[in-house]
């Protein structure tokens, strides 16, 4: 199951598409264009988040353009990642789950908007990312932000940043090693252990989310002329100190802490059951035979030894 998760929806998608199989295996062996796009897109996005810290390293004439570049580049990075991942989630089931869970995410985000900092959407992203893998979690984060912003307003230059940050929260949950269980109903101990790990991750992710969202927005939010303003020419230490104070005062102690608490409580309360619900609708079942039954099943039921392969059908030969 681990391998399934790491390779993401590509292999999760449609377990028994006989005709798609050869294509699939070739693309996992060599990193294709979409993998490169995936990596590049994420690196560019990360750089855009960190633009205030990157600027001192830039030549003088490029510094003024940096904020504009950061704002401009991130939507392109979002589209590029969308393109890279779109081809891998073409199976009906993945898309249906992505769609319905996006609806849940949108609803929780909007329902929580009135209550400052109560961001239950992280609970969903973390649980779904955990159950269905990093790519799914990433896409879910992106689509949830995209849909909630378009449905209920609040669309703005920050939207692509939010999409990336939420996408990373969802993807991260799938990438935590250990205590992974593919079982639908694991023992109580394992269930609680996994929920505990995810809750811890949720707390960290809540703070990290606030931090990186503040990092790129801080110069815009504060503007110039204050003592915690971003100063392009100042040493990195001073900027970091200014930023640290800004983020501490504006979000770390308030919104982020509230978010961390709600996320932890949400994961601990609803996590085990929700994970079981998600896993019951698994995207794929590892080790299945396509079309035919496994020899073990045939043996058990005392039926004939091998399914009759349909003559002249390459797909059947492939899997029998």
């Amino acid at each position: 199951m681990t391998a399934q998760h790491m390779t993401g929806p590509e292999t999760n998608g449609e377990p028994n598409a006989p005709l798609a199989k050869p294509r699939r295996s070739s693309s996992t062996r060599r990193p294709g264009w979409s993998t490169w796009l995936l990596v590049t897109g994420n690196v560019i996005a990360a750089a855009a988040f960190c633009w205030p810290l990157v600027v001192p390293a830039l030549p003088q004439q490029a510094r003024d353009a940096a904020p504009i570049a950061a704002l401009a580049v991130i939507p392109f990075a979002a589209v590029a990642l969308g393109l890279a991942l779109d081809g891998r989630v073409r199976s009906a089931k993945t898309l249906a789950l992505l769609g319905t869970l996006t609806a849940i995410g949108t609803a929780t985000r909007v329902a929580g908007a009135g209550v400052g900092g109560v961001e239950l959407v992280f609970v969903l992203l973390i649980l779904a990312g955990r159950a269905y893998g990093a790519r799914f979690g990433f896409l879910l984060g992106m689509l949830t932000i995209a849909l909630s912003s378009t449905v209920f307003g609040g669309f703005g230059p920050w939207t692509p940043f939010q999409m990336f940050a939420c996408g990373w929260v969802g993807a991260g949950a799938a990438l935590i090693p250990g205590a992974r269980t593919a079982s639908v109903s694991p023992s109580r101990g394992r269930r609680m252990r996994e929920a505990g790990i995810l809750a811890l991750y949720g707390a960290l992710a809540s703070y990290a989310f606030g931090l990186i969202m503040n990092l790129w927005f801080w110069p815009f939010a504060v503007g110039t002329g204050t003592d915690i303003s971003y100063a392009p020419g100042a040493p990195l230490g001073q900027n970091l100190a200014s930023f640290g104070l800004y983020t501490l005062v504006t979000s770390t102690l308030t919104w982020d802490t509230l978010r961390a608490i709600t996320t932890v409580v949400g994961i601990l309360v609803a996590g085990p059951a929700a994970l079981a619900a998600l896993r019951r609708a698994k995207l794929s079942r590892p080790g299945r035979r396509l079309g035919g039954r496994t020899p073990a099943a045939q043996f058990r039921s005392g039926e004939r030894v091998a399914p009759e392969p349909a003559a002249g059908d390459p797909a059947t030969h492939l899997h029998s």
Binding site: T100, A103, F155, G156, T224, L245, A281, A297, S301
Partner: protein, 791 residues
């Protein structure tokens, strides 16, 4: 594409103002509003220690400083506002819908379309789950989140299947030979691991305990164009599995297996996935509204053409043509949300036949429909088969409706498919539908009823329900005695469900008196213990990981002794492995009693000195469902039970127990002392003293892995555990086949027998007649006078 919505603009305006205000606040806080001429407030400067030595807090506030702070924020605020304007004039749902038709981001756009169309369903889901958990007396987060999650995932699975069979993401579309739509030779079908699978199987029926790997064996089937074939069989027999072995969902989506050649339109079904055969195989799924993947009727019908990339003008013409053919022209242009269940079924048929399939597979099309809608669907399928020449295969347990139009009726019994004759015009029931023998009829001994009766348990006086302008219930008057079952029947939308809900959770607008006390004055907890409602979507009450947890949780919430709920469930599901067989055996053992409830009633009357209801019901269950009944029957053959009952001879529980059980004098609770050898799991428990126990198989099961009938019994057990005086059940038989129906019917009967006043709302007239003492018709929110159900 364009339309105006004020919402996003308003949000954007609020955000823009908020942005400006925040920037001013930051400047005030961090010493940035000095420098102007007019000093408004002269705040002291505060210096911070390193590393924040460059930061000073507060300082003088000047008018000019405030102004320049606000001005500096204007460009970004304007940008926010501009985004708001764009968002408020572009209809994003249309943008998504267009993007989903093709192009590089069509996958994600499709996901967004599904999300968009799921949003309103989500609100409904949350509403009904909130009601459900209140009915169960739960308030926690998990009881809300988990059922909503389950519902959503259920929808995802349904959407996925519906998209798959309509050619979504088809790699290599194939054409089928329409002269031989279906040929199966010596085919066996099943699930790996015996059906312990997840919701991935829409065919959730195939989950009876120890369900064998093989669901169907040695199936030979050949159907011709222009025929309508009806497949019948009890729940869990594999009707849907058979249907989806033809649609391809069984092997390609549901993780099932099949052997032997399954040829659909001449193609090997096992090799070709459903999405590649959507051009000539149309599929109408169970509960079609769950699987709608778009927002409007037009888009839904056009789905299969859209994903194939057919040009919009041709699509529009084709959609109009199909709508005409199906008779839903008036629905075009409407939102799918606004459709009734019957209309949704017709739209689902239209979207399945839009590509003019040569084979149409229909899964339980009549399940949720009232009789008018049923007639329309049957007539439509008849026309498609016999006028348009489609090979139609319908799976349905309402066999009677189809017998007049079906060319052949096939029945599944014990894993094999057999023809049962029944050509068209021959209205024979075909014996395919297992007779409703196990459905308890009315009680025979009317004098017994008087004995069981106490004061009227439930009185409803002048109850009205109003939601805004609509008034679903007007001035309802109802009195139900303890031990009585009243069925409220009427068409969809008559207000039946609203009435039950208003009784369970009384608000203003009438009086609900339970056991002589006005329910409005009762605390939440007491009310829940006295009045239990099993809602229409009974699954919403379930949210734990295993049946056992579910039962224990209920014991805690309802403050019941540990094991109570499990005990009640055990009595409701007497023997998971062989319930129908056992009840048959009982019927032969006690031939002088016409039906099961009379028997239980007789026993209930015989055992009045068990004061509390759960214990009594446990004892009853032991007596009526376990093997002791055999002993009881043989022991009491000298005195027929009927005589015993009518004489109201009071045999104490002690005596009975001593007579019926080999364990000496176990007064209460009764020990299920001996078991049939056919249930080894039970045998291991036989030494236990805690009365009916659930088998380990059930206890460790995920609630949603139980069959529909078993799940409903679990919910009934949860709601009955506190021994409520009033039990309300909304549509108890929805989606149940005769065997499961009889399971629920006897559960209701047991509840009545232990002294509950039972009110059911149903549009299943047959069931109402079979189970109820009185029937009351409801129409347009008004209750008619009751009709006694005469023997």
């Amino acid at each position: 594409m364009f339309r105006f919505r004020a919402g996003p603009l308003r949000t954007a305006a609020a955000l823009a103002v908020g942005f400006i205000v925040l920037r001013v606040v930051y400047r005030v806080l961090f010493g940035g509003v000095g420098g102007g001429d007019v000093v408004l407030i002269d705040l002291p400067l505060l210096y911070l220690p390193p590393p924040f030595a460059h930061v000073t807090l507060l300082g003088p506030i000047t008018l000019g400083g405030l102004g320049s702070a606000a001005l500096s924020a204007v460009p970004i605020a304007a940008a926010i506002l501009a985004f708001g304007v764009v968002a408020s004039v572009i209809d994003m749902s249309r943008v998504f819908a267009r993007g989903a038709r093709g192009g590089p981001l069509s996958g994600l756009a499709r996901a967004l379309v599904i999300a968009w169309s799921t949003l309103p369903q989500l609100t409904d889901a949350v509403r009904s789950v909130r009601t459900a958990r209140a009915l169960r007396g739960e308030r926690g987060v998990a009881s809300l989140v988990v059922p909503v999650f389950e519902r959503t995932i259920e929808r995802a699975v349904a959407v996925a299947a519906a998209m798959e069979v309509r050619g979504f993401a088809a790699g290599h579309p194939r054409e089928g030979a329409c002269e031989r739509p279906v040929v199966l030779r010596d085919v066996s079908i099943g699930f790996e691991g015996g059906g312990g699978a997840g919701v991935a199987e829409p065919d959730e029926e195939s989950r009876y305990p120890g369900a064998p790997d093989v669901i169907l064996r040695d199936v030979d089937l050949e159907r011709m164009p222009g025929t309508l074939t009806l497949v019948v069989g009890p729940t869990g027999s594999g009707k849907s599995t058979l249907l989806h072995s033809l649609s391809g969902l069984h092997t390609h989506v549901d993780d099932g297996w099949a052997t032997g050649p399954i040829r659909v339109g001449g193609l090997d079904r096992i090799a070709v996935p459903p999405r590649d055969t959507s051009g000539f195989v149309g599929v109408v799924m169970q509960r079609p509204a769950m699987g709608f993947a778009t927002e409007s009727v037009d888009d839904e019908i056009a789905f299969a053409l859209d994903v194939r990339g057919v040009s919009p003008t041709i699509v529009a013409a084709r959609v109009a043509g199909v709508a005409e053919q199906v008779g839903i022209r008036h629905l075009l242009g409407r939102s799918l949300r606004a459709l009734s269940a019957g209309e949704a079924s017709l739209v689902a048929v239209a979207s399945a036949v839009v590509q003019r399939p040569s084979l149409l597979l229909v899964d339980e099309p009549l399940a949720d429909l009232d009789s008018a809608a049923r007639t329309r669907v049957v007539a439509l399928l008849d026309r498609l088969a016999h006028e348009a020449g489609v090979c139609v295969i319908v799976v349905e347990h309402r066999a009677a409706e189809f017998t007049s139009v079906a060319d052949e009726v096939l029945a599944i019994t014990d894993g094999t498919l057999r023809p049962v004759g029944a050509a068209r015009d021959e209205s024979a029931d075909a014996g395919a539908d297992p007779p409703m023998r196990a459905v308890p009829a009315r009680r025979v001994a009317s004098d017994l009823r008087e004995l069981a009766r106490r004061a009227p348990s439930l009185e409803v006086v002048g109850l009205s329900v109003a939601h805004g302008t609509s008034v679903p219930v007007t001035d309802a008057e109802l009195a139900v005695d303890a031990g009585e079952i009243v069925a409220i029947h009427g068409p969809n939308g008559a207000g039946k469900s609203s009435l039950l809900e208003a009784i369970a959770r009384p608000r203003r607008g009438g009086q609900v008196i339970v056991g002589g006390t006005d329910a409005a004055g009762l605390s939440r907890h007491t009310l829940r213990a006295r009045v239990a409602l099993v809602p229409d979507d009974s699954d919403d009450l379930l949210f734990c990981l295993t049946v056992d947890e579910e039962c224990r949780r209920n014991d805690r919430t309802s403050r019941l002794p540990r094991g109570t709920t499990a005990g009640v469930l055990a009595t409701l599901l007497p023997d998971l492995a062989a319930a129908p067989a056992r009840s048959e055996a009982l019927a032969t053992l006690l031939p002088d009693l016409a039906d099961a409830p009379a028997r239980s009633e007789a026993l209930a009357t015989l055992l009045p000195d068990l004061a509390d209801a759960p214990a009594r019901s446990e004892a009853l269950a032991t007596l009526t469902t376990r093997i002791p009944i055999r002993t009881l029957a043989t022991r009491t053959t000298r005195i027929p039970i009927r005589t015993l009952a009518t004489r109201t001879t009071r045999i104490t529980i002690r005596t009975l127990a001593a007579r019926t059980s080999p364990t000496p004098a176990a007064p209460t609770p009764l020990t299920p002392a001996s078991r049939t050898s056919s249930t080894p799991t039970h045998a291991s428990l036989s030494g236990s003293r805690t009365a009916p126990r659930l088998s380990a198989w059930v206890r460790d099961r995920h609630p949603r892995d139980l069959s529909v009938g078993q799940r409903r019994c679990l919910v009934l057990a949860i709601q009955l555990a506190a021994a409520p005086a009033v039990l309300l059940v909304d549509e108890p038989t929805r989606g149940l086949d005769p065997v499961a129906t009889s399971l629920v019917a006897s559960a209701l009967r047991r509840a009545a027998d232990v002294g509950a006043a039972v009110v059911i709302a149903t549009h299943d007239a047959e069931f109402a007649v079979a189970v109820a003492d009185r029937r009351i018709r409801m129409q347009d929110g008004r209750l008619a006078t009751s009709e006694a159900v005469v023997t």
